[in-house]
Symmetry: C2
Subunit: 201 residues, 2 copies
């Protein structure tokens, strides 16, 4: 067996800890999630976990950042090589409005709800979410190919992402896929008629 | 001092218990909320609380229903006596998109997040939320004065309420009022141009 190089092993451990953190937060909430619980889930010793992430807040920051990056890179790859035109808008609307329909959104919700009554958690989350949110906005503008210098376009892109989070909520307790698909179709038509004319590409 | 009639006293106790339940869930989450904790907060004996609500699930159902009713009646009163025309649409869009920006939404979020991993809670919540959601939809259609038999109108009304929940989330950790107001303005313009033409009044 070829030994995994030290640096790579370290990266794998880090990644496993982050993924375990997302799972634990989604299932147990923030209160129930400790570094010890995460380490056990990841199959990593507590010492090794603390070497990578001294506090659970450090793990939280890494988790939110990773989830944000993974989501946006998935989003970019889903719409890569799509031709321009109405069918492109529909695909872009679909991937944007499905952005929060998965299990990772549950972990985010747990954190936001806990942060609403926990000042320290809130102080960690707010700048982090602002950064992830700005990046999502930038990607959405880019994929929609719209020009934000036109009146109202910025707000319609924001509304698209806020709607996506609302649809994520609606998908939390029941499978809302069918209803969401109909909203996606109508939303794509609305974007086509209201903001696609501002396209800068 | 005039004695409060028995029936009215009973109604007051009931109402105080329900309001205390909403507060407790918002602050402590569903796990931390017991009938005993709610009774203490309401200043009601545990026995009296259990007389009105044998289980915390009964209290939960009453709380979700009351919050839904209060929100919708506030909504109706805010737009009563408004003349038709663009300024009406802007006011309606504003009250709809502010529907979940208050503290009661935090209690709802706690319940939804807890329900996503607690099957019994989920079974209680799902039909309840479906009923409250249908009623909100009906009121929104009514206030917007739109005709749902027109293609896409139903989805735009749904999108309005899903957007409102997404905006509620965005208001959880920071005061998002200013950004929300700009989205409201743009949303009103969009509704005016895209669905107001279907008005049935």
């Amino acid at each position: 067996m070829i030994r995994e190089p030290q640096q790579e092993r370290s990266r794998t451990t880090r990644r496993r800890l982050i993924e375990a953190a997302v799972e634990c937060i989604g299932e147990l909430g923030w209160t129930g999630t400790t570094v010890a619980v995460i380490a056990e889930r990841a199959g990593v010793s507590r010492g090794a976990a603390q070497h990578h992430f001294p506090t659970r807040e450090d793990l939280l920051v890494a988790a939110v950042e990773l989830v944000g990056e993974v989501q946006l890179s998935e989003l970019r790859s889903q719409v890569a090589d799509l031709p321009e035109g109405p069918s492109r808008i529909e695909t872009v609307a679909s991937v944007l409005l499905n952005l929060y329909a998965g299990p990772m959104f549950r972990a985010a919700l747990h954190l936001w709800v806990a942060g609403s009554t926990d000042q320290a958690l809130r102080d960690t989350l707010v700048p982090l979410e602002a950064r992830v949110g700005r990046e999502a906005h930038r990607v959405a503008v880019d994929l929609l190919g719209v020009d934000e210098s036109h009146d109202g376009v910025r707000e319609m892109v924001q509304a698209t992402l806020d709607l996506a989070r609302g649809l994520g909520l609606a998908n939390l307790l029941t499978d809302d896929t069918k209803r969401r698909q109909q909203i996606v179709r109508q939303w794509a038509r609305m974007l086509e008629q209201n903001v696609a004319g501002t396209t800068s590409v």
